[in-house]
């Protein structure tokens, strides 16, 4: 069976959930070979094995993390040459897509981004134009490179005993042009990451102020959820930009999306339309977000949300 290369996304210790999703997908098309860059592979090995990784290529050189994207693309291009995989899967995150883009140029292959599923013939299923249209597309030339939206599928365990294959390809000078000199961590609570979270609670203009975003955080924490925001909120500076959900922000696909004080403009919907369950709190019964709601409450969020938090805490006590 052919290999399927899966680029691991990790923080040097823990492998991100999206990698396990990609390994789960890869099993349908061949033998999942995870490509690990930088340190931390030993710590993650058990988890990758649990989800069925057949092989782990470990390029442990810490230099892989010191430069923007290019070293990873170079590594993947080399592994594509050596292993002739049937496909390369990456997370459809900023970094994953960019690695894929450079790889596509290097090996002359087509690339498909933001897939929410992969068909039997390695075609990508995509949802475009703010959720208006479902598309199926495929790569016509070269090794298919497919970037998959985090949370689009559920990872399934399938224990395996992966072979560890150390890779000692040095990063070329050509890939060292954009050097990362500092990583600045601005926000790191106990909350899950926005695109990986199984529950996301987002606040909109209705929340009214930066201080009031604490109410959204409180609801999120009672559910173990990530916090998101509409663009009205990030534009106003009530919450940092990286939490924006929508067309020009993050695309999320959680099990549950709770939209509080958000009207549901097409550009916001583009980022949350594929959530499995959607709950809405809005005082305007005409707000378009209700069209998406599995459950909606027409009411003042300052009354509904505190009561909801209290109920959740009561039930989980």
């Amino acid at each position: 069976m052919a290999e399927i290369l899966v680029l691991a996304e990790h923080d040097g210790e823990t492998v991100k959930k999206v990698t396990l999703e990609l390994v789960t997908l890869a099993r349908r098309f061949g033998e999942p070979s995870v490509v690990w860059t930088g340190p931390g592979a030993e710590a993650a090995q058990a988890r990758l094995a649990e989800f069925g990784a057949a092989k782990i290529y470990v390029a442990a050189d810490p230099e892989y993390d010191d430069y923007v994207v290019a070293p990873k693309a170079e590594l993947l291009a080399e592994l594509v040459k050596q292993a002739s995989p049937a496909a390369v899967l990456l997370p459809s995150t900023a970094e994953g897509r960019e690695v894929g883009g450079r790889l596509a140029v290097k090996i002359g292959s087509g690339i498909l981004t933001d897939a929410v599923g992969i068909g039997d013939d390695l075609s990508a299923e995509q949802v475009i134009f703010g959720g208006a249209i479902n598309v199926s597309s495929r790569v016509r030339s070269g090794t298919p490179i497919i970037a998959v939206r985090p949370n689009a599928i559920t990872p399934e365990a399938a224990p395996a005993d992966p072979m560890i294959e150390p890779v000692s390809i040095a990063v070329s000078d050509a890939a060292k042009q954009a050097k990362i000199t500092e990583r600045v961590v601005q926000q790191r609570g106990a909350r899950p990451e926005l695109t990986e979270a199984s529950i996301v609670v987002s606040g909109g203009r209705g929340v009214g102020s930066a201080d009031n975003m604490a109410l959204i955080e409180k609801l999120a924490d009672s559910l173990g959820a990530a916090v998101g925001a509409s663009r009205a909120v990030t534009d106003a500076g009530w919450y940092p930009h990286q939490f924006q959900v929508g067309q020009t922000g993050k695309t999320v696909s959680p099990q549950l999306y709770v939209a509080v004080g958000i009207s549901g403009a097409i550009q916001h919907r583009a980022g949350m339309q594929t959530s499995k369950t959607i709950m809405v709190v809005n005082k305007d019964p005409e707000a378009p977000i209700f069209e998406l709601a599995d459950f909606g409450v027409v009411g003042d969020l300052f009354k509904v949300v505190p009561q909801l938090v209290e109920e959740i805490e009561k039930r989980s006590a």
């Binding site: 050509a174 019964p285 209700f290 069209e291 409450v297 949300v305």
Partner: protein, 259 residues
């Protein structure tokens, strides 16, 4: 500094967008056309850098004849001149083809800095900046929320989930910018009048030295094989809050096993 800003004309996200029945490519006539929003931030950043360090801002756009509207708007914001790559053979190009074509033009016109938006609202691939960097062999400084140039040194803040990375490189370089990096200016009346006289050079594939076998729908490395209007979500339950809205919401969450 010789700054080139890549600008794409896209269908307005407020109008209804669709694909063409005939070849599954974007139906550009069905929707109003505007400058891709992220590219307005790219233009603004180019203008600011030219104002601070001297130099010229050139707009580069690949697209059908209608893209001239967007090019004029970019010029009315203050860019100096434009290059419009337009050729029927480019229709239906995928990102790989688009990046080959734009890289060929950039190689020909030369640059110290290429600025792009980080993502377009129609294709939404967000890979073009990385592809151009790869093709041109210059540093990739993408997702910039802040840009500083000092002589030939360039430093950006690259937006990340956890905050940002500081990234340094040497010019020439390719950068892409995120929204909120600046506040794009509105064209002034004077700017709109001046834009009418600014030079717009049209280039064909042959002029740009682009290999016709690398571009266009027939040569695209990826293709749409089928598409469908997505069915609307099934209507859910909506209740009015009568003092018990939070409680009812909790019941819903419990019934779905979220709590």
């Amino acid at each position: 500094m010789n700054i080139v800003v890549c600008v794409k004309q896209v269908p307005d996200t407020w109008s209804e967008r669709t694909l063409k029945e005939s070849d599954s490519t974007l139906d550009r006539d069905a929707a109003d056309a505007v400058i891709n929003e992220a590219d307005e931030f790219a233009i603004e950043e180019g203008l600011r850098l030219a104002e601070a360090h001297g130099g010229e801002v050139t707009i580069l756009s690949m697209g059908p004849a209608r893209a001239t509207e967007s090019i004029r708007k970019a010029l009315s914001m203050g860019a100096d001149k434009a290059v419009h790559l337009v050729d029927d053979a480019l229709a239906g190009s995928d990102v790989l083809g688009t990046s080959a074509a734009l890289a060929a033009v950039l190689g020909q016109i030369g640059f110290d800095l290429v600025i792009l938006g980080s993502e377009s609202t129609d294709a939404r691939t967000g890979v073009l900046p990385a592809m151009l960097s790869e093709r041109l062999g210059v540093p990739q400084l993408s997702y910039a929320s802040k840009v500083e140039v000092d002589g030939s040194a360039i430093t950006i803040n690259r937006l990340a989930d956890y905050g940002y990375d500081t990234v340094v490189a040497t010019l020439p370089a390719v950068i892409s910018v995120v929204e909120k990096i600046n506040e794009p200016r509105y064209p002034s009346f004077k700017g709109i009048m001046a834009a009418k006289k600014k030079p717009v050079q049209t280039m064909s594939l042959a002029d740009a030295g682009v290999d016709a076998a690398a571009v266009g729908l027939a040569n695209a490395a990826s293709e749409v094989t089928s598409w469908d209007k997505r069915p609307p979500r099934q209507a859910g339950t909506v209740v009015a809050d009568e003092g018990d809205g939070g409680g009812k919401a909790a019941e819903f969450l419990a019934a779905r096993k979220f709590i």
